[in-house]
Symmetry: C2
Subunit: 194 residues, 2 copies
Amino acid sequence: MTGRRGHVVRQAVLAATLAELVDVGYAALTIDNVATRAGVHKTTVYRRWADRESLVTDAVLEEAATDFEIPDTADIDTDLRTAVRNLAAWLTGPVGTPLVALLRSDASRLPGLADAKLRFFAARSQAVRGRVDSAAEAGQLPVGIDPMALLSTLTAPIYLNLLVLDRVVTPDDCDRAVRIALTAARAGLLGPGS
Amino acid sequence: MTGRRGHVVRQAVLAATLAELVDVGYAALTIDNVATRAGVHKTTVYRRWADRESLVTDAVLEEAATDFEIPDTADIDTDLRTAVRNLAAWLTGPVGTPLVALLRSDASRLPGLADAKLRFFAARSQAVRGRVDSAAEAGQLPVGIDPMALLSTLTAPIYLNLLVLDRVVTPDDCDRAVRIALTAARAGLLGPGS
């Protein structure tokens, strides 16, 4: 399975895997059902993926790759509001929805995916660090904010809604998280060791 | 399986179910392995539970029942610190650990458990409401705080650590969440519609 046709089949199988992950979860996901959904014969899937563990891992790592940037309009309040709204839209959109389903499934135990998840958060923390540093230089935030503490305060309520409470995330939810995080940052509650 | 012997067997099977949920998750949980772990024959398990769905549901509902109270020492800052530290200890202790494992597994899709989870949060929100009202009467918090918004701000970072980041929760993490939530409440950020 090489060349253009192989690529098309591969993408169809990976997309079907993510759709199955959303609809039935990981425990009930079977290669047979993925093949049916993708419109290919199951031997086509087994030829490339030995088991559902490797199939789900490939699907998530390939389809869910993302760049995460925090805009810089020189106003940190506006930029964080944009970033958190963008994150919420992404988490509830076509790419993020399977990732959220993954976190709520036993597939979160797959070593390749557990690693990817931590890399993902490390990259986001790094993006926050860059933007927080420029905001501190501009006098809009105190110096020495812990980027991971800020990222957690900004995003934890969104993950709680999606992972635990089965709630939609509204733009107001995002804006409130940003106001709380900025208030905490300016009150000195997000510094290292605070 | 009735009487004292039946009760002992039942408790052993339910405890083994929760332990398996923690160790291997839901997708890999089998009635055979639960029976082995409980030291009973698998027919003993099948006689009472038709499938692993009902077994896991029973185990969680019976073993994980809990009362959640917020202390009232007349100082809201102290009381929320105690409550959040208690919650973190509970979530990482013998009762909460299987519940956290459940939230990270496909068992979170079981209807009986999804319902129980929402009842659990509703009960906690109700407890927060009672304590927030008495704090408002004492002039320690503004009137009209949304209990669910406060509960989310207090606990979301803890769930993020446990459900997503695979981090331990330290007492410092708890205290920071409380400081952030109280600062937000007093800045008027947790009112209804804020």
